[in-house]
Symmetry: C2
Subunit: 177 residues, 2 copies
DNA sequence: GTGATTTACTAGGACTTCCGAGTATTTGAA
DNA sequence: TTCAAATACTCGGAAGTCCTAGTAAATCAC
């Protein structure tokens, strides 16, 4: 893993020091490296929490999305949109979930290009239990105070906004350009 | 990609709303999802910047680390430690870099278990150029003001600290327990 | 000094992500 | 209406991450 063998110092800070002696101001490099590292830590933690349920966080996200949908089913394309991943990633996830009996593929009569993914009863039960486990573990960020979580969310949201991840509130979507 | 097809709303906010009606307080879930998403966006941006040089960010990190080392070479194990990735990930990266002629494997005479990865002249040149491209693009976070970057770095550092990512300053490493 | 343990690297496999390309179906335009 | 363009899904492949397990070499203990 990346986590277990801990150094006697913070490798990101160290990299920043070396960076500044070679290249210049390391702030943006440190920010980006930190994001990568935190993602790595969180994902490892989440997957560890979900391991007893034999799913990964990627597949858990699909299950939750289906739980939120009105009738427990969604076209694969919608899943990809909402989760912001490539269509082939959805195919891959649904393949595995279907093999595990947690989800079923159902043809969509109203548009025969589409395939719906539908939660099975077993899928619904597992999602409940997995969600309990994740919320009890606070998604792997217990120890981070609430105000810090809020600040973090806001800053990340600003970053996403400046990367064009979602429309600005003052952008009129109905009347483009 | 996840980026191109933008929804008319923020999927993370929306997931938070749905989450709260089904399960409860979505703050930690929103924070974690945001980290995942930002990592995805940044990595895509960095890889796009590096595409003309025919390397990925993962391989770039290896090259920079070698640049920082005294003689342009390091044992693979050190690389894994510093980059906080699994030994097999290093093997994989070095395999590719070696195939590209950017790095050379050199046996370590002082410890014959070890293999050193050494920058080739071509590897050194490419690292310079790639670094220029990345710094000019501010590592994909142009548009994020400096104070926000600082706050973000500090919050992520706190999060890493609470996950035990590095020793606390008041922890005496030389005298364990 | 010899044997057990630890360390370093690699091989193979699972999982996720992306991309490009191909097939089917629906929509839209002439 | 008929043909072109857009949309939905899948297949195969590349790249990254991790894990388990195996071999070789160094270190530690007795």
């Amino acid at each position: 893993m990346g986590r277990s063998s801990r150094l006697a110092f913070d490798p990101i800070d160290r990299a920043g020091e070396l960076w500044s002696t070679h290249f210049g101001d390391p702030l943006s490099m440190k920010v980006v490296t930190s994001v990568m590292r935190v993602q790595q830590l969180l994902l490892a933690e989440l997957d560890a929490i979900l391991k007893p349920f034999d799913i990964t966080f990627a597949r858990y996200e699909v299950l939750v999305l289906l739980t939120f949908s009105r009738n427990g089913s969604l076209p694969l394309s919608k899943i990809g949109e909402r989760l912001m991943v490539h269509p082939t990633s959805v195919t891959n996830a649904i393949d595995r979930l279907e093999r595990q009996g947690l989800v079923r593929r159902v043809p969509d009569a109203s548009d025969r290009r589409r395939t719906l993914a539908e939660l099975t009863p077993s899928g619904k039960r597992l999602t409940k239990r997995a969600t309990r486990a994740l919320t009890e573990a606070d998604f792997g960020i217990t120890g981070v105070p609430e105000h810090a979580q809020r600040q973090l969310y806001d800053l990340l949201r600003d970053l996403r906004a400046s990367a064009g991840d979602f429309p600005h509130p003052d952008e009129d979507v109905s009347r483009p350009a």
